[in-house]
Every structure is written in structure tokens, then in C-alpha cells.
């Protein structure tokens, strides 16, 4: 049903998914993740940015049994299998929310260029680094 329909096989663009919203209160986080998974089939240069309330998406220990909704946070941990390995998290956004990197999911990938060594996908960056990363993109998808 979801066949990759790569109309321009030669083109590689830098895609950034910008996540600025908390999970569960609205569906944007979940449906954004669905785009990332489908997009992974297109062999583009993909990164994810988590800033503002978006950092709450990757907080560990989520347990949704009580609200009757699906806990989709484990899917972030599987992103490495889809070759999505660059997750940039804004330091200032964490701090404002009383969070540190220890509160986040452990998300890693196996680096095929380095004997499949397991490496962290999450990079905590300062706001001005985030600004620079955004400036390098060809396509920015925000939901």
C-alpha cells in the first residue's frame, strides 16, 4: 500500500523533521513519526530536531495504559533500523522543562562504516547550533 514512489532517484536532499509538540495531547508527534518511517525508504539525508515541547516526545518511561492510547515511544528506539540516526535535541528546551539527557530514551544505531559499532543517535545541541542545522536543510517538515 505504501510503496516508495521515488520519482527522482538521483536526487538526495537534506530533510529535517522539526518536532515542537508534546505527545498524546495532540496527534502531531505520532503522525510525524509515521512520515519519518515512510520517508526512510526514500534514501534521503534525514535528521530530526526536537525543540520546545517536542523534547517531551522522547522522554523515557512513558506508560499510556491509563489513558487508553498507544505508547509509541518505543518506535523512536527503532529509528536506527530505518537508518534514521541523527536526532538533535535542543539543550535550552530541555532545561526550561526541568529535563536532562538522562531523562531521554536511549536511542542508538549500529554504524555500518565503523564495524557496526553501537553509537548514540541523540545529540544535545545548543540553540545556535540548532539554528545552523536548520539553515543547512533543503526541506523542513513541521507538523
Amino acid at each position: 500500500m505504501e510503496e516508495p514512489d521515488v520519482s527522482q532517484p538521483g536526487v538526495t536532499k537534506k530533510f529535517m523533521y522539526v518536532n515542537r509538540r508534546a505527545p498524546y495531547g495532540t496527534v502531531y508527534a505520532l503522525e510525524s513519526l509515521e512520515v519519518v518511517l515512510i520517508g526512510a525508504a526514500f534514501d534521503q539525508d534525514v535528521s530530526l530536531a526536537f525543540l520546545d515541547d517536542g523534547v517531551f516526545q522522547i522522554v523515557k518511561g512513558q506508560d499510556t495504559a491509563g489513558i487508553g492510547m498507544k505508547n509509541f515511544s518505543p518506535t523512536y528506539r527503532a529509528l536506527g533500523d530505518y537508518e534514521v540516526t541523527k536526532l538533535y535535541v535542543e539543550k535550552e528546551s530541555l532545561e526550561t522543562r526541568g529535563l536532562s539527557e538522562d531523562d531521554l530514551l536511549e536511542i542508538t544505531y549500529e554504524d555500518e562504516d565503523d564495524d557496526w559499532a553501537e553509537k548514540p543517535s541523540i545529540h544535545v545541541v545548543k540553540r545556535d547550533e540548532m539554528t545552523q542545522l536548520m539553515a543547512q536543510q533543503d526541506v523542513i517538515l513541521s507538523f
Partner: protein, 100 residues
Amino acid sequence: MLHTINKSPFETSTFASCLGHAAAGDAVLLIEDGVYAAIADTEPGKQIKAKNGTVSFYVLGPDVAARGLTNGSLAEGIQVVDYAGFVDLVAEHEVAQAWL
């Protein structure tokens, strides 16, 4: 009066506006993304601590757990309730005002 807040205090001004209109003796219940206001040692968490006593603060436990927050990480004095407790709070207060 029972006030409910369902928005993140980091994203919208709803939390601030509600606190600005909560009278002494009122209760405030944080639900959905509103529960993020309860995180201790944040700006909204400190405001809750400061206003606690004048106003009673509650947070919906199932929404806290869904978001990976632990009850221990919440600002002091906030009471955690489940949906049945939510129902009780509405029943106990003459009017419920939703801050959307």
C-alpha cells in the same frame, strides 16, 4: 470553582491566565498536556508551589504516567488523582471552568 487546564505551560499562556483568575479556595486540575506544569523546579512548577494553599492543585495521574513523568518529579503539594478522582472534583465544586 474547579479550573481544568489541558495545555502545556511552555507552549501556551493558558496556565498563566488560569492562575491569574483562580480565586482563593479554588481548585486547579491539570490534565492532558497541562500536566507538564507540575514538573518541579520549572517556572510553572514554582508558581504552583507559591500559590499552593491559596489554591489546591491536582494532576491527573494517567496523563502524568503517559508522559513519562513520575509522581516524585512533581512540584510539592500537588495531589495526584485518577479519572474517578476527576469526577469527584467536578462533583465537589459548584462550577467547572475549562481553560482551553
